[in-house]
Symmetry: C2
Subunit: 191 residues, 2 copies
């Protein structure tokens, strides 16, 4: 049985789980909780949602911790654009809300602003202050718009066996009977 | 404080958490648990590990549920190759173990084989059988090799503000002052 309604509120239990899952309550992770919360409010009661994170940093974990969407179950897509932005949208209509950190609204004097724009190197204790600012500033840190998402649904791809290493891989990556690694496009070498 | 030692064994509590996090105990998720377990045994006591999943399907959640590595904390990289393979490796030496489903070893008569190669459409009850086969066949389903990983460490990228939408984005994506979305490369349209 698919647990569709796995949304979570920002409470002490979540913060504890977040520290365990992510390693610590990082500012980007915490910020993401408020962005998910706002997006959920805006799209209403829809339970069957998909998500997109436009960065690999922190935000994917915010989504995975507070919604039913994970990378591995396919409900969360992660695009490595480097934008601190996310979209929650209805699985069927593809309509939803995109929300992003809006530096034009963010108080320039805040440590948050300096941290986000990487103007200063973090000092001991800064993170605590930034977390406090995120909680206090909340919606003054981001903007949103209604969007319709255009992503093709992933398909089960036919497999083949690599002629060299004998490993199975998707036919779409085939060049001369070789898998990506044997084409020299892998991320590893044998030791 | 970063919790380095967050590895988990395959027990009832994990299976319960897995069903909650992933939506259900899917075969790919369960298979991934055994692959992570084997890789951990092979690399020994190293606690500071990074991980790579070579598919977006299921396997990233296996890693996220049983190791300290998550997508959002950067310890898990996900490459969308479509290979059911993963690598665990030491953060410092970059040496570790790559492990993959080896169809040459897998019994051809098993439902697992048919499911993995998508030769049959799943029927009600099949999943239960496949889960049982995974538990029973375990190491007969995969092979491994020692590898050294060659991935550049992600850097904090300088940001700029898009001239059109005023959103901040990494300079590396800049074309004529525009962010990816304003270049028409986004995954959404406004509604």
């Amino acid at each position: 049985m698919l647990k569709k309604n796995r949304f979570r509120e920002i409470d002490d239990e979540l913060l504890k789980d977040a520290a365990f899952f992510h390693g610590r309550l990082a500012p980007g992770l915490y910020l993401g909780f408020f962005m998910v919360k706002k997006a959920r409010e805006l799209i209403g009661s829809t339970e069957m949602i998909d998500a997109v994170s436009e960065t690999v940093k922190c935000l994917p974990d915010s989504v995975q911790l507070t919604t039913p969407c994970t990378v591995g179950n396919g409900w969360l897509k992660v695009f490595d654009y480097g934008n601190f932005a996310l979209t929650l949208y209805d699985k069927k209509t593809k309509e939803g809300v995109r929300i992003w950190v809006d530096l034009e609204k963010t108080p320039k004097g805040s440590l948050f602003y300096k941290w986000f724009t990487r103007l200063v190197k973090e000092k001991e204790g800064d993170e605590e202050i930034i977390l406090g600012e995120i909680k206090q500033l909340n919606e003054r840190l981001f903007s949103f718009s209604r969007v319709k998402v255009e992503i093709e649904k992933g398909k089960h791809l036919p497999l083949m066996v690599c002629e060299k290493c004998k490993e199975s891989f998707p036919v779409k990556n085939n060049v001369n009977g070789l898998c990506l690694s044997c084409q020299g496009k892998g991320y590893w070498v044998k030791v």
